[in-house]
């Protein structure tokens, strides 16, 4: 891929709303992405391979659990810092950001928020340091948007439980050391269970032939009479609200992350349009291209203000699920539109791996579906403002 010349847009001087520390977090993450991700990511995406060596670098920079307290190996940063990190990492690639989202918000967060002290001490430092990689099993073959219907379940057997069922579309599954699995107990109530690789009856077949998130590994989690010690059940929250709480945290990160992908597409298209000459003028001088570029920067700017405000609310513990849904949905939608338009600005060059745009575009097709589909987030807003659920 061509060298990474990325310059971040800041049309409304949103930087002035950030602290010096936020800017240092962002710059450090950006420097890391330029050094470690940009030079190799295209190759891994083309090969459909997760760049496993990045786990250590991501851990070293602090991308695993940045907002988890320091005593558990996190950095104890605020939510805006977390958002900025996700923005920069997804600017590099949505697949790498997905790995961070899963590790931080879907594995470390539930262990931190719903686990007991022994579980926190046992798992969190190893997850922060990258010694362990985790995955999050909620979706099942027949229960995607409607996870409450899940079939995966367990029965008690002395100080163990016997886990049965299967999860599908699970990021990091093929190489994860542990899985936070959501399963129903004998009364049908959903609980989180930590399943470790190596437990008998637990397998993680990989999902192949993806056109999207190719630099991220996706797989299944299959449980056939897996005996899990009872001490691996997360004790402090149960019911569908527990996994949904994790999703709030991950979706918040995606709201920032997708903007990063959008910024990369815009920045690439703007630079290309100024340089590419057709009919004796740079194509940036033609109205049709200006319309595309002007609309891109408008949407990015609106998105930046939205996620910044959401970050403030999250720092104060006031961000609602519905507010997070709105931001996730908006960011991904504009990122997808921007990727498609930006690709056209590059003409034929836009379809090659010399530029990041097509990879972002394909990645975003997963991002618009996982962590609540585009439609489902709209229904969440609809329910929130009307009081009527249109899900069923």
């Amino acid at each position: 891929m061509a060298s990474d010349l990325f310059e971040a847009p800041d049309y409304y001087l949103v930087d002035e709303l950030l602290t010096e520390e936020h800017k240092l977090v962002r710059q450090s993450t950006r420097d890391w992405v330029k050094k470690e991700v940009s030079p190799v990511i295209e190759e891994y995406a083309q090969k459909a391979e997760f760049p496993k060596h990045m786990i250590k670098g991501l851990a070293d920079i602090g991308a695993f659990g940045p907002y988890i307290p320091e005593e558990y190996g996190g950095a104890g940063l605020d939510q805006i810092s977390y958002g900025l990190m996700m923005q920069e990492i997804e600017r590099g690639d949505s697949g790498i950001r997905s790995t961070c989202s899963v590790q931080s918000s879907l594995v470390m967060y539930p262990i931190y928020a719903y686990g007991n002290e022994a579980q926190r001490k046992k798992y969190l430092p190893k997850l922060a340091s990258g010694e362990y990689v985790g995955c999050f099993g909620l979706t099942e073959p027949n229960y995607g948007s409607n996870p409450g219907g899940m079939i995966t379940n367990y029965k008690e057997d002395g100080d163990h439980i016997i886990l049965n069922g299967a999860k599908m579309w699970i990021s990091n599954a093929p190489f994860a050391d542990i899985a936070v699995v959501w399963a129903k107990n004998e009364e049908g109530r959903i609980h989180g269970v930590i399943v470790e690789r190596g437990m008998e009856g637990f397998t993680t077949p990989e999902t192949h032939n993806k056109w999207s998130l190719r630099a991220s590994a996706t797989g299944e989690l299959v449980f056939e009479d897996v005996r899990v010690p009872k001490e691996n059940i997360l004790p402090n929250k149960s019911g569908l609200g527990a996994p949904l709480g994790c999703l709030d945290s991950a979706r918040y990160g995606i709201a920032w992350g997708a903007l990063g992908a959008a910024m990369d597409c815009y920045d690439t298209a703007l630079r290309y349009a100024k340089e590419r000459v057709q009919f004796d003028k740079p194509i940036a001088a033609y109205q049709l291209q200006q319309k595309k570029l002007a609309e891109m920067i408008t949407e990015i700017t609106k998105g930046q203000l939205l996620v910044w405000r959401l970050g403030q609310l999250k720092n104060e513990g006031r961000a609602t699920t519905a507010q997070i849904s709105m931001a996730k949905r908006n960011s991904v939608e504009i990122a997808l539109k921007i990727a498609r338009e930006a690709r056209q600005v590059l003409g034929g060059m836009g379809i090659t791996g010399d530029y990041s745009i097509m990879r972002h575009m394909m990645n975003l097709e997963s991002v618009v579906t996982y962590e609540g589909t585009h439609d489902i987030h709209l229904l969440i807003t609809g329910l929130d403002i009307t009081g009527h659920s249109a899900f069923k």
Binding site: E21, L24, S28, D60, I61, E70, A75, L77, S81
Partner: protein, 248 residues
């Protein structure tokens, strides 16, 4: 071992350089500032001294409050404490006097400055500090090892290297080679959090006078457009060189 690292706060190398006020002042508008690259090599070497030889590392800048993010970054990379001498750094001698005052007070064992600051490219501060303190000065330093109260150095000289030694305390003007580019550290999140709690002391400047005064700045002429001449068209080329470029 107490190490003082002098950090100059400079425009990022990709910045677009402009001047204001009749070309007498640098236009900071929209410019991003970074740790002077030569100083970053020195800082990294100092952090190694901390990690491998138990040194304590203080970073120092002579500048106004706007340089504090640069010092925070140095703390996030691994320095233990920071000092900012609160003054507009008007010239190299002024800056050197401030650094020398801090060095005397803090009883440092060595001072790592950069070979030059990439903003005004004076290449003077390190040498002046050494002179004010009557300490040895090793400029263009590409290697430094310390054992007890002695140090050995490698310097880059025209077409080769020079090896020398000196007792502590001393001043170096460092550059790449002290550590390599791949050794430079990007601050990580834990470092950034720790930097929050590390001391950043603001000191008043000592009385000192600048010895130089800037008239104005001028940018190089922009590069002209390239005219392509067909390889077979000698006549056209000669004509252009003669009439347009006026070089023959």
């Amino acid at each position: 071992m107490k190490v003082l690292v002098c950090i100059s706060h400079v425009p990022d190398t990709t910045s677009k350089i402009n001047f204001t006020n009749n070309n007498t002042e640098f236009d900071k508008n929209g410019v991003q500032f970074v740790i002077n690259p030569y100083d970053e090599f020195g800082l990294t070497r100092a952090v190694w001294l901390k990690e491998k030889q138990g040194a304590s590392v203080t970073v120092l800048n002579v500048g106004t409050a706007e340089t504090e993010p640069t010092l925070r970054k140095a703390l996030a990379i691994g320095a233990d404490e920071a000092i900012r001498v609160d003054a507009e750094p008007t010239d190299a001698f002024f800056v050197a006097q401030q650094i020398a005052a801090v060095a005397k007070e803090g009883e440092y064992d060595l001072i790592i400055a950069g070979r030059e600051s990439i903003d005004y490219n004076g290449g003077q501060v390190g040498g002046m500090v050494a002179a004010l303190l009557k300490w040895p000065f090793i400029n263009a330093c590409v290697g430094m090892e310390i054992e007890g109260d002695k140090a050995s150095f490698t310097r880059e000289i025209d077409g080769g290297k020079e090896k020398l030694s000196a007792p502590l305390p001393f001043v170096i003007g460092g550059q790449k080679g002290l550590v390599e580019e791949s050794d430079l550290r990007i601050p990580n999140m834990r470092g950034i959090m720790q930097a929050r709690k590390k001391p950043l002391a603001v000191k008043e400047a000592v009385d000192a006078e600048a010895k130089t005064k800037v008239g104005d700045f001028a940018k190089p002429e922009p590069k002209g457009a390239v005219t392509m001449v067909d390889a077979d068209n000698m006549e056209e080329l000669v004509k252009l060189l003669h009439e347009k470029a006026k070089v023959i």
